[in-house]
Symmetry: C2
Subunit: 349 residues, 2 copies
């Protein structure tokens, strides 16, 4: 079968290569790929800055935003041929830390987790892959290819879950306003889940025209490109990872405000910061800032519910390009109006 | 009666002045002062950098860390003559925000709260003061003068309450280690409450000898004065407000770590900071940093329980100087081995 593979640590080593079929040890469910979503982590792996091949192998099958249909499922597995499924990305260490042992591999304490398509496990960017039933999530078949958004939605569902748990440190917590920075897939999905919670939403990004402002406005939210003036919100979902934006939004959280950092940034770029002043504001206003990464099974299930409730037409517009596997190179060339780009495996097998 | 008063905004205006007895409007309970604790906020007010007098008045009665005995209490108030009590510091706005309306004035959203001895309400640094029953907290009479530690303990009880609520964003949260920066009263009380939770505790301060290291070691905790090397802990309670320390401890929180900022710092001092690198670590490790200030009635009650459970001899050593009211000036002159300094009102009335 064909698979998109990379040699981790080597820039631009991505190729469509012929690989053996997935081993039984990857799980009892056999899945035929429908689509693969591409995200910033994939670009980071392709540029050689991130990613690890499985033990004793040189190459890694790329891809963690999966969608496929079940080809074969054992009786009693809870799955049947034809089911539309998404694979969970992270797997706990064989000797799990307390978080992983509790099914909270997203909160792994020892860093010994593995990740499909990222860290020491082959990914989902192949014509066929296998899944363990406990790491497969069924999605509403009416979503069709849109269901490839489940993995990024799971990231957002986790962020929301933590925002709500942190918010409940005070009984009187009733957030009304949300600022989302970055109108990529994670930012737009964060705004969607905020809208489902009845919030007044502001989204900041750079594109003055195109699908990003259109999608924000279609959600009934306010789109900003310029300085945010005196805007303060109860919640901030930071999805850019840009240092200047991060510093700015930490100050924009109102009293008892919560800032969720969800953008993975590169380091090494220093800024001059009034740490004492920032600390004083955080203390006197009871503000909280937290980082959120990955998602566990519960979050995938919350994400599946959120997608099932959402407007399908709006969700469909998040997918700005579907590139057939035969032209896979195009999928990895960034274009200005890209939101979510897919490699379409549906015509390949 | 005599009271310690200041003219807010004017440096070194503190005086022992003759003032009228406290008005009925301050509350139904009449209290004779036993002791007044002095903290950093008092020094800030004395230096003219903070504090607001009551409306239409020039001077403010200083003091918010109270201890007194009830002189008169109405029947049915729940209090009786001779009860040892501490007054809550903050009062909600007459038109309360949703937090204040729920009794969570520590999480006030609109900043319209007032504070005894700090913001627009006379404080407890007087021979007599009055309290509303709902803002008076009874303390174990066996604590005696040590009970003046209730207010700083309430700050710490709130911080712990929030740490635990934030920690429970993950079901598998079982913190084992705590770093406290700053061995002042708040830091030492934070360490005490950590010890009551069975944690391994590290405390950082500058004094190489004296009561601070002695008190830390007597608690069974490790005292550090120098660089912390590779120390990482599940929890950090930051009580110095020093910019360099704040930046350092944010990096010392392990995976799923929580940093509570409890030190009020002055701003204006800029540092060169790798914001992107810090953001990346916070995201990939699911770390949380939050500020905590003040305390509501529930926290005073938690604090009263914590003090009642603690070793009285150890608590007593936190009070390093008791200065009689007649020599009040000495109480406000800082000395190197000061932890908690009291003005002793017990022999005055």
């Amino acid at each position: 079968m064909r698979a998109l593979t990379v040699q981790p640590g080597v820039a631009n080593s991505i190729q469509l290569t012929e690989v053996p079929p997935p081993p039984q040890s990857d799980g009892a469910l056999s899945v035929r790929a429908v689509a693969l979503g591409i995200c910033g982590t994939d670009h980071e792996i392709i540029s050689g800055e991130y990613g690890w091949a499985p033990a004793h192998q040189q190459r890694l099958i790329l891809g963690h935003e999966s969608l496929g249909t079940i080809e074969e499922a054992p009786a009693g597995s809870g799955f049947a041929r034809g089911d539309l499924v998404v694979g969970v990305v992270r797997r706990p260490d064989p000797v799990p830390c307390p978080a992983c042992a509790a099914g909270e591999w997203d909160m792994c304490r020892n860093g010994q987790y593995t990740e499909r398509g990222i860290k020491e496990r082959n990914g989902y960017g192949a014509e066929y892959f296998r899944l363990e039933p406990e790491f497969a999530v069924k999605v509403d078949p009416r979503l069709g290819m849109i269901a490839v958004l489940l993995e990024p939605t799971s990231i957002v569902a986790k962020a929301w879950d933590h925002i709500e748990r942190i918010g409940q440190r005070t009984r009187s917590w009733r957030p009304r306003t949300l600022l989302v920075t970055g109108a990529g897939p994670v930012g737009l999905l964060a705004a969607l889940l905020g809208k489902q919670r009845g919030l007044e939403i502001h989204v900041l990004d750079r594109n003055k025209t195109g699908p990003k402002p259109d999608l924000v406005r279609a959600l009934g939210a306010t789109y900003h490109t310029g300085p945010l003036g005196s805007l303060h919100t109860d919640l901030v979902m930071e999805c850019t990872g840009a240092s200047e934006v991060i510093l700015d939004v930490i100050e924009r959280a109102g009293p008892a405000g919560i800032v969720c950092l969800a953008g993975v940034s590169s380091g090494g770029h220093k800024l001059s910061v009034d740490v004492g002043g920032g600390n004083r504001d955080m203390v006197l206003e009871n503000n909280a800032v937290f980082g959120s990464v990955n998602a566990n099974r519960r979050h995938y299930e919350l994400a599946a519910e959120a997608l099932a409730r959402a407007d399908k037409e709006w969700l469909g517009k998040l997918i700005t390009r579907r590139v057939p596997l035969s032209r896979w190179q195009e999928a990895f060339k960034r274009q200005p109006d890209d939101i979510k780009v897919l490699v379409d495996f549906s015509g390949s097998a």
